[in-house]
Subunit: 208 residues, 2 copies
DNA sequence: CCTACCGATCGGTAGG
DNA sequence: CCTACCGATCGGTAGG
């Protein structure tokens, strides 16, 4: 009987998982505004109504929390940008990836815009595992665009003399720049300017 | 006599100006790596071998220091990117602005790459005078590119149906993305990829 | 420009 | 998961 009431009162594993997820989701949102470094355990504890040591119950150190936050941001990015685009193939997939990225920014999915654009700028000039993890995620994204572009080339949807790396560099530059500009100037016109630029670049590369 | 020795021992106005400039130059460099917010008065004092209150002798508050740091970064940018490009006009000026920007990044003028690219990413999602100052500098840069592009159009160096705003958006996206990629991946190939992209975009816009 | 100090907050730990 | 605490560092000030 005592045993029983203790058991019902005790926090279950599922509770712990939910708290951990709450902390990480909040961390992703906070980090797009304050930066991954500006994110403090104290502020995060306050924002989630968990005590500081409650946060440390889930993460060994600030760096451990930061790495888990990047992983969580990756999951979000895959869910809202990548997965919906995988329904299409080749040129259509390439177009969808760019459009879903722009829409992910435009919808203000995260308050400070794209998590990885912010993290890449913040950590670019530093060293350590956090920077490497962000760089690796960035390479994965470029790889995803490149694979779609290559398939479009194989499908003869793009001109046979297309420079795939150059095309992907340009597309990525456009969507990332749209993110920064949209957040800095709070101006949706920048998103439509990016849409036009994407269209122009892809039209120029399309096979006749 | 006592008067005299006191006078020679006393710090002159020029000494103060030199210290202030040393602080600001160090702040610009540090801010490209640590961020304008990550920049602390203590670290800055250490890096310049001035005491913390020595820093406060020149700036009323951290925000005051940050605003002065942005102004100092602007001066540097004008010196190394803008001024050399103003010798040319029209299309040549537009090309020079892009090339000088890429070279300013490639030469590692600042350890964390372009100051304003870093500041725009860091402050984009926040509010206040610092963000407004950075946004205003960003608009000036876009305005500079736009003016050169417009003149190129007037000079009939660009096709008469050229979308100046779209062209400038694309050129800026390319050079800023080159900055982030170069710093994050430490790979000079990204700069040459950007040079090719600039060339491709400008070639497509050139009048026959 | 310095030394010496302020309260607040940082990342992190002890003990439960 | 909590309260209560640690030394270090933060932005900033007093007094010289």
């Amino acid at each position: 009987m005592t045993e029983r009431s203790v058991r019902t009162a005790r926090r279950t594993r599922a509770d712990g998982d939910r708290t951990r997820q709450l902390i990480l989701d909040t961390a992703v949102r906070l980090a797009t505004v304050e930066g991954l470094d500006g994110l403090s355990i104290g502020k995060l504890a306050n924002a989630t109504a968990v005590s500081k040591s409650g946060v440390y119950a889930h993460f060994d150190s600030k760096q451990d929390l930061q790495l888990a936050t990047v992983d969580n941001a990756r999951k979000l990015f895959v869910d809202v940008v990548v997965v919906p685009s995988l329904r299409a193939e080749g040129l259509e997939r390439l177009t969808a990836l760019c459009e879903m990225f722009l829409s992910y920014v435009e919808q203000r999915t995260l308050p400070g815009g794209c998590f990885f654009a912010a993290a890449a700028s913040e950590l670019g000039g530093r060293a350590g595992p956090l920077r490497e993890l962000v760089a690796s995620n960035q390479r994965d994204w470029i790889g995803l665009l490149s694979a779609a572009a290559s398939q479009a080339l194989t499908n003869q949807q793009l001109r046979s003399d297309t420079d795939v790396e150059g095309l992907v560099f340009e597309l990525n530059a456009i969507v990332v720049s749209a993110n920064t500009g949209f957040i800095l100037h709070d101006d949706p016109v920048i998103i439509s300017r990016a849409r036009s630029a994407i269209e122009r670049v892809l039209d120029a590369a399309k096979s006749a």
